[in-house]
């Protein structure tokens, strides 16, 4: 079986000589199709850097990294992944619909196919009634849903999310988490999710990779053995709290 993400001893150094900073060291990470993996750690632990290596927005300085058994750059050229950032990064001058169509335009989809998929994606994130609005007319949560619809529009096999709900309020955040789980269930996509919220990582993931800074390493891996159907009851279950404690302690161990 091919791995969606297969990292062996990956490292990243920024700068050269005396100014060199080791951002990541000895990263081993393996993901299978359909996995939901969270990267969690304090600021500066390199979790966003690791995500950018997977996305071929940065290049590793050591080790071997394969995405769908290809180099990250080939995977990017093959449009194997969709990306969602902390800010929605929607284009102000495009309507919601046209924002979702942006990647499809770049990937040379025919006009009919573009509008069909945009409709479908906006249905999926329940924003079909806002297709002709401009981004600034939408709330932060709605903008982020547009960003997710845009990332899924070209049906990538991998979704990379970089603290996507970091700027949202707690209530919206929980709704969005439920939304992501629903999309994940419906599409069968693999997800790498960067966050610094412990409850968020536990609620969403199949596995949580805990990272520690200077240099960024994966210090422990925690398998989240909550039932696959997750909802409000999950958030109140004893096992959920145990796992939160487990992740918190893993983070604390990393600090000392």
């Amino acid at each position: 079986m091919t791995m969606v993400v297969d990292a062996r001893g990956v490292g990243k150094v920024f700068g050269r000589g005396v100014e060199a900073v080791q951002a990541l060291a000895d990263i081993d990470m393996v993901m299978e199709t359909g996995d939901f993996v969270s990267l969690i750690g304090p600021s500066g632990c390199g979790k966003s850097t690791l995500l950018r290596l997977v996305a071929d927005l940065l290049e590793p300085t050591s080790g071997q990294l394969l995405i769908n058994a290809k180099t990250p750059s080939q995977a990017r050229l093959d449009r194997d992944y969709g990306m969602v950032f902390q800010s929605a990064t929607l284009l102000d001058w495009r309507t919601v619909r046209k924002n979702v169509e942006l990647p499809l335009e770049i990937m040379d989809f025919a006009a009919e196919e573009r509008s069909r998929r945009a409709e479908e994606m906006l249905d999926l994130v329940q924003l079909d009634l806002f297709a002709d609005h401009y981004p600034w007319q939408l709330s932060g949560g709605m903008q982020q849903r547009v960003a997710i619809a845009r990332a899924l529009a070209f049906q990538p096999s991998l979704l990379l999310m970089d603290e996507p709900f970091g700027a949202l309020d707690e209530m919206t955040r929980e709704l969005m988490q439920q939304e992501v789980l629903r999309l994940w269930g419906e599409t069968g996509i693999s997800v790498v999710f960067v966050t610094h919220s412990i409850p968020e990582a536990v609620f969403l993931s199949g596995r949580v990779l805990v990272m520690t800074p200077r240099p960024g390493r994966i210090s422990s891996e925690i398998v989240i053995d909550l039932p696959p159907e997750r909802d409000l009851n999950t958030r109140e279950s004893p096992r959920y709290f145990e796992l939160i404690t487990e992740v918190r302690e893993a983070l604390r161990r990393g600090e000392s």
């Binding site: 950018r52 996305a55 927005l57 990017r76 050229l77 449009r79 992944y81 969709g82 990306m83 950032f85 902390q86 800010s87 990064t89 284009l91 102000d92 001058w93 495009r94 942006l102 990647p103 335009e105 770049i106 990937m107 401009y134 600034w136």
Partner: protein, 286 residues
Amino acid sequence: MSESAGKTSSSSFIRGGLSILAVIVVFVVLWEGYKFVWTALEWTEPVDPSDRTLPHTWDIVGALFQPAQRNGPILLFVEVKAAMFTLREALVGFLIGGSIGFWLGVFFVRSQTAERAFMPYVVASQTVPILAIAPMVVVWGGKLDIPQWLTVSIIAAYLTFFPVVINTMRGLRSPQPTTVELMRSYASSPRETLWKLQVPAAMPYIFTALKVSAAASVIGAIVGELPAGFRGGLGRDLLQFSQQFTAAPEKLFASVIIAGLAGMVFVGAVTLVEHRLVAATRRQST
């Protein structure tokens, strides 16, 4: 949404008209007040209030409705015609300069080497006075058999391109780093990133430059008309009236007003295009 926007724009139009009128009234009162007080007190500093240097505002407006030459059409008619002529040269210059400015901006943003190599000369080109350049262009244009109005347009273009270069570069570099990463994640070609992200993001910047350039292109066209004594435009009339200033100062003032209005019309037209293209879809726009 569109209905309320329509209402605001029509009421703001009226408010805009009223404020322009108010400014004119204040200006006339200050002008005439200065003349009255300075004459009464027999002051001549800083400007002599006599009709020879500061004609009455009504004489200036009146001059527009007097024949410019004996038995000729009235000055207003002559000057509006001259203004149209100059505006046409300015418009061609503006289009040439604007396009050159835009593409230089794109080129410099694409290639840092090119920016480092050529930018100093672009800056230097603007520190050379247009009055020194204009006669050369006229002479060269004459040798190359370029129509005279086109040489004037080239001079106008020379004044026009610089703000467009600077603001195009600024605008093309304005998208957030994450938006640039987003385009890269789509494996977007540089060309597509340019047209789908950078150019739309640069539009407010480019239009700011175009408004400056529109005004500058009118100046460029007027100055460009001077060295060759080129007939038909505002330049020669302004020169002629300034030579006749002591005899008939109101004529010069009147044609200055027309020249100013011509520039305003041009800038106004650019603003209208901007509203059509940019402001309609964006929250934070002028």
